[in-house]
């Protein structure tokens, strides 16, 4: 399988604090990989580096054969990396449908002149966009809430809407930041199936951060473990479960 994303000794410091150090990630096309670690280990920082929100102090990020370091977040999204946010960042005052439509803007089939003069292309393009957005909402089981304000959805549904919105950009690499946070066990199980389903349906590579070990161990094929910004282990769920350094990081020395 071809490599889609590779980081070479990626690192970032905030003042004296080395939030992430010397990280070498490799993701192959179609992978479903977990990124775990105790609170404050630097997991979300890795996502912020990959999506261009932070500029790395060291190292390189190679996506589909080219470096994406220094690109703006929207340029990286256009290249095919999108994400969800741990602290949900929906467009709260807008409808569920509009949230997805906005993410579809990268592939808008008409231009501003068409829109302002209301050419047929505008109506046709809007219809295409809406149909596709509805399709995504159906997959994420949100179609019945399409007209509701995003901020009025329950927590679990907001997380699913974040995924629907990310999918609308047509990514090839999807970064999920704690997709199951705040969900009950039933919802988490459904989400697990959903993540596997969208990977196959949209030919995605998925990297996910999650604290729910049940979810991570069950669906991830490989796992990277971060502790204090350092990658302390990498392997299959079985290997990670039995890795003494991982156990130490999570439970403390002598556990």
């Amino acid at each position: 399988m071809a490599t889609i994303l590779q980081t070479h000794s990626l690192g970032i410091s905030f003042g004296g604090l080395k939030a992430v150090q010397d990280l070498n990630l490799t993701l192959n096309e179609g992978d479903l990989v977990g990124l775990i670690g105790p609170n404050g280990a630097g997991k979300t920082t890795v996502f912020n580096l990959l999506t261009g929100i932070y500029l790395p102090t060291t190292g390189d990020i190679i996506f589909k054969g080219e470096s994406i370091v220094g690109l703006k977040p929207y340029e990286i999204a256009a290249k095919g990396i999108t994400r969800t946010f741990q602290n949900i960042r929906l467009f709260g005052e807008l409808s569920v449908l509009e949230n997805v439509l906005i993410a579809r803007h990268l592939h808008v089939p008409y231009n501003m002149i068409h829109a302002i003069l209301r050419f047929g292309k505008y109506y046709q393009g809007e219809k295409e966009m809406r149909d596709e957005a509805y399709e995504l909402l159906k997959i994420m089981n949100l179609a019945h809430k399409a007209e509701e304000k995003a901020k009025n959805l329950p927590y679990g549904e907001q997380r699913r809407l974040e995924i629907a919105r990310a999918l609308a950009t047509h990514p090839s690499l999807l970064l999920l930041d704690e997709p199951a946070a705040g969900m009950n066990p039933q919802e988490t199980t459904e989400l697990m199936e959903l993540i596997g389903f969208i990977r196959d349906k949209f030919n995605l590579t998925i990297l996910l951060i999650e604290h729910d070990m049940h979810l991570v161990m069950n669906i991830c094929e490989r796992i990277y473990v971060l502790d204090y910004g350092i990658n302390i282990a990498h392997g299959t769920p079985e290997e990670i479960k039995n890795n003494p350094r991982v156990i130490e990081a999570y439970l403390g020395e002598g556990a």
Binding site: L94, L97, H105, Y110, M112, E126, R130, R165, T169
Partner: protein, 325 residues
Amino acid sequence: MKQMLKNWLTKENLTVTVLLVVLMLGVQVLYSAGILSPFVMLNLIIIAINIILAVSLNLVVGFTGQFSIGHAGFMALGAYASAIMTLNFNAPFIVSLLVGAIVAGIGGIIIGIPTLRLKGDYLAIATLGLAEIIRGVITNIDYLGGAYGLMGITQRTNWLWAFGCMLVTVMVIKNFVQSSHGRACISVRENEIAAEAMGINTTKYKVIAFTMGSFFAGIGGALLAHYITFIEPNAFNFLKSFDILVMVVLGGQGSITGSVVAAIVLTLISTFLQSLAELRLIIYAIILILVMLFRPQGLLGTHELSFKLLQRKRGVSHGNHSADA
């Protein structure tokens, strides 16, 4: 082309078009027949110009969420550029109008690119400052009449021009806001980080909104210059920017019809209170305070007045609640 017509020819569009045409021609006929006094006409034209200014500022402040309080600066650019075209180059009115709008639009790009990096209060202060700079520069250019301003501009703005320009402004901004590009602007207001992560070039859309807003402010300024036939730098000070901002906030940030309603109401209030001299400002302020106390989101919030809404309010449902909102 056929498809285009079919899409456009909905019941609501037709009703609105007929109403607008009746209003436009009706007022003109009544005025020509001597039924409407010049005083009423003056107010109607000022209302139309204020609608242009409020709706264009709403695109920047309400829809894109960029708190700009320098709208009068762009009005000034439009007013002076168009007045010069008329006075010194004897240009036809349409050319003067367009030159005014384009000069203001270019001013918008030049000022927008550096200032739109700022957020919130900082942006407000920067736009305020730059609008004052525009005024200061104009005051110091002799060619533009300096502090005395320009006099003897041919009066060319009449009801038809004012109303026509208002219609174009409202239509263009409405169509823009309801497009994918307009939604990109709205996403900047809602959550800039998420918008960037979803592939929206937020700087680009801020500048687009700001430029469009300035362009139409330029038209407003040009119409005003060719109506009162006399312009001076002080007519475009920050109080003017503030007046327009009040209309946007009062009508509802992110509501085009809200801005229209607020522009009408506030223009009428200030006309009726004119005879009360100083008391006028106090009453005006009290009205604003009351509205902000009881409707902090503005008269309409982010909602739009439409026939659908009125029908729903009256409980008449035509069952046509498709997704094409």
